[in-house]
């Protein structure tokens, strides 16, 4: 075994082993610390993939330019969220919303989920990827319902049912891809291996691929949260523990998106198949516009940002749908920035909701006065997510809009309309929450600000300066995406 395949193994082994240990250990301080350590270990292992030579793609595992971006992002946000989670959960234990027993379950599930997501990224087998995505989904279902309140269970149930249908559709799509590949590649394992498929995709049957892509787009798109498949997303975000909301928005959506992208590449490699672009553009725009309108009537702060995630997923899918080096680059950048920003926002929102004892927007006011760090943190986050400079999302939106306008002016106008709508809604809420006459508790927040500010610092840096190697990398990936 080479060092490289070791690193890949570590990325998968650390979470799964940690999950086993965490399921057995009592005491929340210890488990929280262990959770952080395990997440850090996974992150470091993933980071090492950057440095050392990559392993040859095998039957099951693969590390290439595309997924390494996702893995590193995934493990990083996983790590910061575990830090946030430690302080968040401590508060939940104090207030008695969670019992230590559930906590053990929570930490174990956290690591299983990380395992599932990492596996989805590194798998070279479309079947394995499907399994991994489903593991990640099902664990989050369990975590969403962890509070055992009526609303939480309802949300989890909705998530579960809609997710299951999504699972089924994605599987059907996967089978269809296998069927398309079999006459060319031959029976058995090989016809599901990604590296083999992509090499010979041009000779696959286009009709099968077309139908397959629609099913895959629907199956995985349910998890991306594209409208009208989004229904589970807002409730799951709003009712679960906030670290899970952060992970859902920041990571799980990316996992599903990654799967969609993989199949998009596959489809694009076949000249006779329909081009996936228009389909993705349509769904992206629909999601963007729909979510933008939905933002206006939100009264729950977490559900607000959940809809904002739908909106941004719409933008990202739109960008990838437009294709071309510039839009793909922008889409990738947007995805990374959205993950960092949105999870950062959820860190802030988690503490805010704890301090104020409510998630109702109407009951939270004047945060910059009572809790300057949280209030300004949230303000920076919302400003970032709304696409204002000098933060990273501005750059990606700039590239998406300007590159689209030159090619499809009408689409760009619609896009801009959606962006402006969403901007208006977000700023309306921010104005109420961060400013004005303070309302609600003014007790000092017992919060860990590090994860939040670390994320925002990264986003700020990226908005002004992207390191050269990273850019080259992204550009390369953008070219791969076609």
């Amino acid at each position: 075994m080479t060092a490289a395949s070791d690193a890949v193994a570590w990325v998968l082994l650390i979470p799964i082993c940690a999950a086993a240990v965490l399921a057995a250990l009592p005491g929340y301080r210890l488990t929280a610390a262990l959770n952080v350590v395990a997440s850090l270990g996974t992150f470091l292992a993933a980071l090492s993939l950057f440095i050392i030579a990559r392993p040859q793609p095998g039957q099951y595992l693969l590390v290439d330019d595309l997924n390494i971006v996702f893995i590193v992002l995934n493990t990083f946000v996983g790590f910061t969220t575990s830090v946030f989670s430690a302080s968040y959960i401590a508060h939940e234990i104090e207030t008695g919303r969670l019992t230590p027993g559930y906590l053990r379950f929570y930490h174990a599930m956290y690591q299983v989920m990380m395992f599932g997501m990492n596996l989805a990224f590194v798998s070279n087998n479309i079947g394995l990827m499907w399994v991994a995505v489903e593991i990640a989904t099902l664990t989050t279902v369990l975590m969403v319902g962890i509070y055992r309140t009526h609303a939480a269970l309802e949300a989890a149930w909705k998530y579960f049912i809609l997710g299951s249908v999504g699972i089924a559709l994605a599987l059907f799509g996967t089978i269809l891809v296998y069927m398309a590949a079999r006459p060319v590649v031959g029976e058995g394992q090989d016809a599901m291996v990604w590296t083999v498929l992509i090499g010979r995709a041009a000779t696959f049957d286009p009709a099968l691929l077309n139908v397959a892509f629609i099913f895959l787009l629907f199956g995985y798109g349910t998890k991306v949260g594209l409208a009208p498949l989004h229904a589970w997303l807002p409730d799951a975000h709003a009712e679960g523990p906030t670290p899970i909301s952060a992970v859902l928005s920041g990571l799980l959506l990316n996992v599903a998106l990654y799967a969609v992208l993989r199949f998009k590449i596959l489809l694009a490699a076949n000249p006779e198949a329909i081009s996936p672009g228009p389909l993705m553009v349509t769904m992206g725009l629909t999601s963007l516009l729909f979510a933008a309108f939905m933002l206006y009537r939100r009264r729950d702060i977490k559900r607000l940002f959940a809809y904002s995630s739908i909106e941004h997923m719409g933008i990202i899918v739109f960008a990838f749908g437009m294709g071309g080096p510039l839009a793909n680059f922008a889409g990738l950048l947007h995805m990374v920035m959205h993950s960092l920003t949105k999870s950062g926002i959820f860190y802030a929102v988690g503490h805010i909701a704890q301090v104020k004892g409510t998630q109702q927007i109407a009951n939270i006011r004047g945060l910059t006065e009572t809790h300057p760090a949280l209030g300004w943190g949230l303000a920076v986050g919302v400003v970032a997510i709304a696409g204002l400079p000098p933060l990273g999302i501005f750059m990606s939106e700039f590239l998406i809009v300007s590159s689209t306008f030159a090619r499809q002016p009408l689409l760009a106008v619609l896009l801009v309309f959606g962006l402006l709508l969403a901007f208006g809604a977000l700023m309306l809420r921010l104005t109420n929450v961060a400013f004005g006459e303070p309302r609600g508790s003014t007790a000092p927040a017992d919060a860990s600000y590090m994860p939040m500010f670390a994320h925002f610092a990264l986003v700020l840096t990226a908005g002004i300066y992207l390191p050269g190697p990273l850019v080259v990398w992204f550009q390369h990936v953008a070219n791969v995406l076609g």
């Binding site: 349910t222 009208p228 750059m395 700039f398 402006l420 002004i464």
Partner: protein, 671 residues
């Protein structure tokens, strides 16, 4: 040392550093002095460098920083146009900093102002320096963001929160319009660098679209009607020195953006574009000043007056476009110079007036003119400076406002040279609008000064007001002196603007320095000329002569007595003419149509002890016809779509199923 772009960028870096310093020294009580002191020094240096660039007719310099858009870098460039606007920005910045040194000490929440003030200045500097689309937009929006934070400084007042919100949404709308414009300009592989955009050919249809988008984008920031609605909300909400910057300087940065893209990057977009800009400018000027006249909040009045001045500037830019499209270089240079001159002038007197309003605000705590009055006795120095500002902005000789207005009229009078009938007829018509706006402006500032500073105090706070601190006064008098100097020595300014016109239009106005007696002669002496200095000397001489003779040979006795009150002795100050009543004749003339103003008189019959009441019902039609329906539409759709949040799982599944089947159907039919 050759003035170059690197020095300007260093100044910006220093400003950003000041921001960090202000964040770090959050609660220190010295921070006000330190921050404003630092911004004062930096702005002065930047101003001096920009000015020396203009005077030296230096070559444009460029630099690239490895930040911003990765494969492009951040391009910065200092050319004549940028140097002029940098001078405007930094002079305004320096004045505001000086004013802030005094005014800032009254600030209740300095930690909400200090960090953003230098950032705002830096943002405006950067917009002017930017030389690629990404950097430009980034800085543009950064400028908006910083000023938004300043608007939100006094966030507890609900009005301010709303103002900030409207402002930010409109700013974002503008930025997105600019984004589309740049998307169009940089399309088809041109790239985002300004140099590349400049050299690429642009089709006429594209040019028209870019112009429309620029009018939306830069126009919304500058305050073109009907995109102006945020301006009278946001500018007054900020602390006064920031209001001065926003009104006096930030709108100029927006105009810079318009000039940079339309004149420089796009090339002249045809004469019909000129008509559009011209008419929009004229309409904006009249509408803006009418709004101002109806206003009784002194800062809002000033903000509306900014809209008027922006209209004047756009009208003369439209003239420049029209002339340039027809190859009338000299006339275009005249109109363009007039626009720039007005940019400079407006930055002087609008800052001055906002400073004055700020002084009144600090001293009385009141912005409502109906509660002020008689301040000329309590604040003599402030009132004199404010008076200078009022005279200047009313375009009265010998101050600077008149000179730029005069130049605009001279440009209007070149309209017979234009070949197109539309222009021939529209140009004098817009000229009439501008004349109307100028006359109304005079009326408006008679009201502003008269109600605020003259008469008797209408409230105890006004009666107890006192003079403001020296720093504020120094800032006001500095600007007042500039208003005066630019008014009596306009030739110097015009010569200073020559390199800008040369660079952008390709022509320049004749050299004025050689004209006798420091006159200005835009075209030829037989055609028109003006000499502010002589007019000033004549008036002074004539007045002094009269004073001398009368005091020497006639009477100089004075007796104080009660004012004539039609037989009523000592009526209350409430019996004075108020701001609303002052505006009433003009409201009757214009208001019925433009504001749908209706007066309702409730006159009790004799013997009825009720007081008589007059209520005036006015409507802001732009809000009611444009923005309210838009907002309503958004909320209507939001409400409708919101039903989707409350479906049952089966219905959600049906949604998924229906979409899936639809797509499969499309696939079946299509392929």
């Amino acid at each position: 040392m050759i003035p170059g772009v690197d020095q300007q960028v260093w100044c910006v870096a220093a400003l950003l550093g000041t921001t960090l310093l202000a964040i770090a020294a959050n609660r220190s009580n010295k921070s006000t002095t330190v921050v404003y002191g630092a911004t004062l020094v930096i702005s002065l240096i930047a101003f001096a460098r920009a000015l020396s660039f203009l005077v030296a007719h230096a070559e444009a310099t460029e630099m690239v920083l490895p930040i911003g858009l990765p494969w492009l870098g951040s391009h910065f460039r200092l050319d004549a146009l940028a140097a002029f606007f940098l001078a405007v920005v930094n002079l305004g910045g320096a004045a505001a900093s000086l004013y802030g040194l005094g005014y800032g000490s009254h600030e209740s929440a300095p930690h909400r102002v200090l960090p953003f003030f230098p950032a705002f200045l830096a943002g405006m500097n950067l917009v002017v320096l930017a030389d690629d689309a990404f950097t430009f937009l980034l800085c543009w929006e950064f400028m908006s963001l910083a000023s938004w934070a300043l608007v939100m400084a006094h966030h507890r007042e609900a009005d301010n929160a709303r103002a900030g919100y409207v402002y930010l949404v409109m700013a974002s709308f503008g930025t997105l319009a600019l984004l589309l414009a740049f998307g169009l300009l940089s399309g088809a592989g041109v790239g985002y660098g300004f140099a590349a955009i400049r050299s690429a050919p642009h089709a006429p249809s594209e040019a028209a679209l870019v112009l429309a988008l620029m009018l939306l984008g830069a126009g919304s920031k500058a305050g073109l009607v009907p995109l102006h609605v945020w301006l009278p909300l946001a500018h007054p909400a900020a602390p006064s020195h920031v209001s001065a910057l926003m009104s006096g300087v930030m709108t100029k940065v927006a105009i810079y953006g318009f000039i940079r893209v339309v004149f420089d990057l796009l090339g002249p977009p045809g004469w019909s574009a000129g008509i559009v800009v011209l008419v929009l400018g004229g309409a904006t000027a009249v509408m803006g000043i009418l709004y101002a006249l109806m206003e009784n909040d002194i800062k809002r009045l000033l903000a509306y007056s900014t809209i008027e001045n922006v209209g004047v500037i756009f009208a003369s830019l439209g003239l420049a476009l029209a002339f340039q499209a027809n190859g009338l270089g000299l006339a275009a240079a005249l109109a363009f110079t007039a626009a720039l001159f007005h940019v400079l002038n407006h930055s002087f007197f609008k800052s001055l007036l906002f400073f004055g309003a700020g002084a009144v605000l600090t001293s009385t705590g009141e912005r409502d003119m109906e509660k002020l009055g008689g301040l000329i006795h309590r604040m003599p120095l402030t009132s004199f400076a404010f008076l200078v500002g009022c005279v200047a902005i009313s375009a009265l000789p010998p101050f600077n406002g008149f000179v730029s207005e005069w130049l605009v009229f001279q440009a209007v009078l070149r309209s017979p040279d234009l070949p197109q009938w539309g222009l021939k007829i529209m140009v004098p018509a817009v000229g009439a609008l501008l004349a109307l706006a100028a006359a109304l402006a005079a009326a408006c500032f008679v009201k502003a000064f008269g109600v605020t500073f003259l008469g008797r105090a209408r409230s105890p706070v006004a009666a107890a007001a006192g003079e403001v601190d020296r720093c504020s006064l120094a800032a006001m008098y500095g600007l007042a002196a500039l208003c005066f100097l630019a008014g009596i020595l306009p030739g110097l300014v015009i010569d200073g603007l020559a390199p800008v016109a040369q660079a952008i239009i390709g022509h320049r106005m004749p050299v004025q320095a050689n004209d006798p007696w420091l006159s200005i002669v835009p075209i030829a002496e037989s055609r028109s000329s003006y000499n502010g200095l002589l007019v000033f000397v004549f008036i002074t001489a004539a007045a002094s002569l009269a004073v001398y003779f009368i005091h020497r040979f006639a009477s100089r006795a004075i007796r104080r007595g009660p004012a004539w009150g039609c037989g009523f002795a000592d009526p209350t100050p409430a019996a004075q003419y108020s701001g609303a009543s002052f505006a009433q004749p003009i409201r009757r003339v214009f208001g019925t149509l433009i504001f749908q103003a209706r007066e309702h008189v409730d006159m009790p019959s004799p013997g009825d002890p009720r007081p008589a009441r007059l209520t005036v019902d006015m409507h802001d039609l732009v809000w009611e016809r444009l923005y309210t329906p838009l907002t309503k539409a958004v909320w209507f759709f939001a409400d409708r779509l919101n039903q989707l949040q409350f479906l049952t799982i089966r219905r959600y599944l049906s949604l998924v199923f229906a979409t899936l089947v639809t797509l499969l159907l499309v696939l079946a039919i299509w392929s």
